[in-house]
């Protein structure tokens, strides 16, 4: 009698502990692994979680080890798909054992964030940003800044530049933009996921840069839009190629995507696009997938997922501060996914 009365709650307890998980365990069969960029990790994890409801026979496991890591791992074929914030270079693509496809998923932006008394809304153009990051503009009340920001009281303080110390897709977009507006930057510093910075302090990750900017009065740095929005950081409006100062928002990024020139292989840079309302410092993120899938079963599931992501998943982007692909681009991406063989 006594043991029975003890047993019932015990069984009930273990049932609620194991019940849902056992059901989950029994139904799952296949695991498809991917690795790469940190920037899209939140949206990818959301997609992979939602996709369980669409197809419960497959689980997608994505680990954000960085864009460089994602490219290396897909080349070594230790993962089923890779992910990167910057398109792969020709040299890296040549190392691939089979043809690698770039599948664009969502876009994001880099914002210029700063720490000034009262954090007024600043406006800057590309050449000014270049000279700040070159270490040529060193005071906040520099005439070039003052001229673009009439009515804003700029202090006579030193500008402290903060940049990323680690390799990152965020940096790639940032220096891609700086190279596109300045020949001097392009030849002296150039493009890459990490570069030799002519000025400033380093911070690790978005949180490292944001932390330094928050702590140092007069500091300026760049972070991802999603990060700036989540942490309510001030973001400068940046002058685009049409001559308008544009705030970094999802609309202005989508506009940039819509007006950017996108080549056949989807390896494109979308900084400084021609659109009137386009924000100039934006970039896309890609999934890297082999055109010929070795494992037929995995390949089939992967293609099904990619189609779902482009058709349905895109609508979840905005709530997580990512810009979805415009319809025209989506159509082209779907066509490309059709060429994957398994």
């Amino acid at each position: 009698m006594k043991t029975k009365s003890l047993l019932i709650p015990l069984v009930a307890l273990s049932a609620c502990f194991l019940g849902p998980d056992l059901a989950d365990r029994a139904s799952a069969q296949m695991l498809i692994n991917g690795a790469g960029a940190t920037f899209p990790y939140p949206i990818y994890s959301k997609w992979f979680d939602e996709y369980v409801k669409v197809d419960s026979s497959v689980r997608f496991n994505y680990q954000s080890i960085g864009s460089g890591g994602g490219q290396k791992q897909i080349l070594a074929e230790t993962v089923d798909f890779g992910a990167s914030d910057g398109p792969m270079s020709d040299a890296n693509l040549a190392k691939a054992p089979r043809r690698l496809l770039h599948i664009p998923t969502v876009a994001g932006a880099d914002v210029l964030t700063y720490n000034l008394p009262g954090n007024p809304q600043l406006k800057v153009d590309g050449p000014t940003i270049v000279d700040i990051f070159m270490g040529k503009i060193t005071k906040w009340n520099d005439p070039r800044l003052a001229q673009q920001n009439p009515g804003v009281k700029l202090p006579d303080d030193d500008i402290i530049v903060v940049h990323r110390s680690d390799g990152s897709g965020t940096t790639f977009i940032w220096v891609d933009y700086l190279s596109s507006v300045s020949k001097e930057w392009e030849s002296k510093v150039g493009r890459g996921t990490s570069v030799n910075w002519p000025a400033g302090l380093g911070g690790k990750g978005n949180e490292g840069v944001a932390g330094q900017v928050k702590q140092l009065p007069g500091a300026v740095g760049y972070v991802e839009l999603a990060y700036a929005v989540q942490n309510k950081l001030p973001c400068a409006h940046v002058k685009n190629s049409a001559g308008n100062y544009v705030a970094p928002t999802l609309d202005s990024i989508t506009e940039a995507l819509a007006t950017a020139k996108i080549p056949e292989d989807f390896r494109f840079s979308m900084v400084n696009p021609p659109g009137d309302k386009a924000y100039p410092i934006a970039g896309c993120t890609w999934l890297l997938v082999y055109q010929e899938q070795k494992d037929a079963a995995k390949g089939k599931k992967l293609v099904e997922f990619l189609n779902w992501a482009i058709e349905k998943g895109e609508s979840m982007a905005e709530s997580l501060n990512y810009a979805p692909l415009p319809a025209s681009v989506r159509q082209r991406v779907l066509e490309r996914i059709k060429t994957i063989k398994y």
């Binding site: 502990f17 849902p20 998980d21 989950d24 365990r25 799952a28 069969q29 695991l31 692994n33 690795a35 940190t38 990790y41 939140p42 949206i43 994890s45 959301k46 992979f48 979680d49 939602e50 689980r59 496991n61 994505y62 680990q63 954000s64 080890i65 070594a76 074929e77 230790t78 993962v79 990750g205 978005n206 949180e207 991802e224 999603a226 990060y227 989540q230 942490n231 709530s319 997580l320």
Partner: protein, 283 residues
């Protein structure tokens, strides 16, 4: 003259005692601070769901780290499977067989290995296991942690085996018991508690490793169904959540850190209990 001398000496004595006490407190203080901070930031997110549910995606509150907690235990189990037999038998060789010249080299190698940064272990196992197997796996994670445990366990096993009085071995051999049985049934059994202590300390040491798991166990958002698939681990999950921009994930990371620290503390307390027992009984 002698009275002032005496007072001066007393003063010096008190002063140095105070300095020593302050230093002792400084040693303990970080542990207290770590515990205080983790409990303050993490306790709010430690709940039933944390131990029973899978992680939730961004924007959905709740969820837990059940897969990572289970993953850490599975990885430690695999690591023990590899590290304990090799480590203990290596210790037996050093203590019971082996020439002093060869032993010097083995000890030297083990000490060098103990000092190898854990990320290096990760790279080695990535190249030896992950690349040839064409995939990250729980095996690779277990192997890297197991390899890290081998030199640790070997050195502690050797030390406790040498504490076994030679008279025991001689008495056993004098009774005509073969050498292997002497080692297995007399020497190892006498030193068992010390060996278990060494194993537990090695487990506690590798339980918190993140770097070697990044490119071996890899991490997994879901349950692991096969040891040749990637697997989640607490330190990995903490790392991923801590560098994310989301407050909800930061809270989960604190909770994960608290659980991991409690786990390691529990092992260390277990070790204390075991060793206290050993010292109370005359060997």
């Amino acid at each position: 003259m002698s009275a002032t001398n005496h007072r001066w000496r007393k003063f010096k004595n008190v002063l140095m005692q105070a300095v020593a006490l302050a230093c002792a407190l400084l040693v303990v203080a970080p542990l207290g601070l770590v515990f205080y901070h983790l409990i303050k930031s993490g306790i709010g997110s430690v709940n039933w769901a944390f131990f029973t549910q899978l992680p939730k995606p961004v924007g959905e509150s709740g969820g837990g780290m059940a897969n990572a907690i289970a993953g850490t235990f599975i990885l430690l189990g695999l690591a023990a499977l590899i590290g304990v037999p090799v480590g203990v038998l290596g210790g037996v060789y050093l203590s019971e067989y082996g020439s002093s010249r060869l032993n010097w080299w083995i000890r030297f190698a083990a000490d060098v290995l103990n000092g190898v940064p854990s990320i290096i272990w990760g790279i080695v196992v990535y190249a030896l296991v992950v690349v040839p197997m064409k995939g990250f796996s729980a095996w690779a994670g277990g192997i890297v942690l197991g390899m890290m445990m081998i030199p640790l366990i070997m050195r502690t096993s050797e030390e406790v085996l040498q504490l076994v009085p030679n008279g025991y071995r001689e008495a056993s051999l004098a009774l005509g018991i073969p050498r292997w049985r002497t080692i297995v049934q007399i020497v190892l059994r006498t030193a068992m508690k010390g060996i278990v202590t060494g194993v537990l300390l090695a487990l506690a040491r590798v339980a918190g490793e993140t770097a070697p798991l990044l490119f071996t166990a890899f991490g997994n958002r879901f349950w692991n169904h096969s040891l040749s698939d990637p697997i989640a681990a607490l330190p990995l999950q903490i790392f991923n959540y801590a560098i994310s921009p989301y407050d909800d994930w930061h809270r989960q990371a604190w909770a994960g850190a608290l659980v991991l620290l409690l786990l390691i503390t529990a092992v260390n307390v277990g070790v204390r209990v075991l060793t206290r027992d050993r010292f109370q009984k005359p060997a």
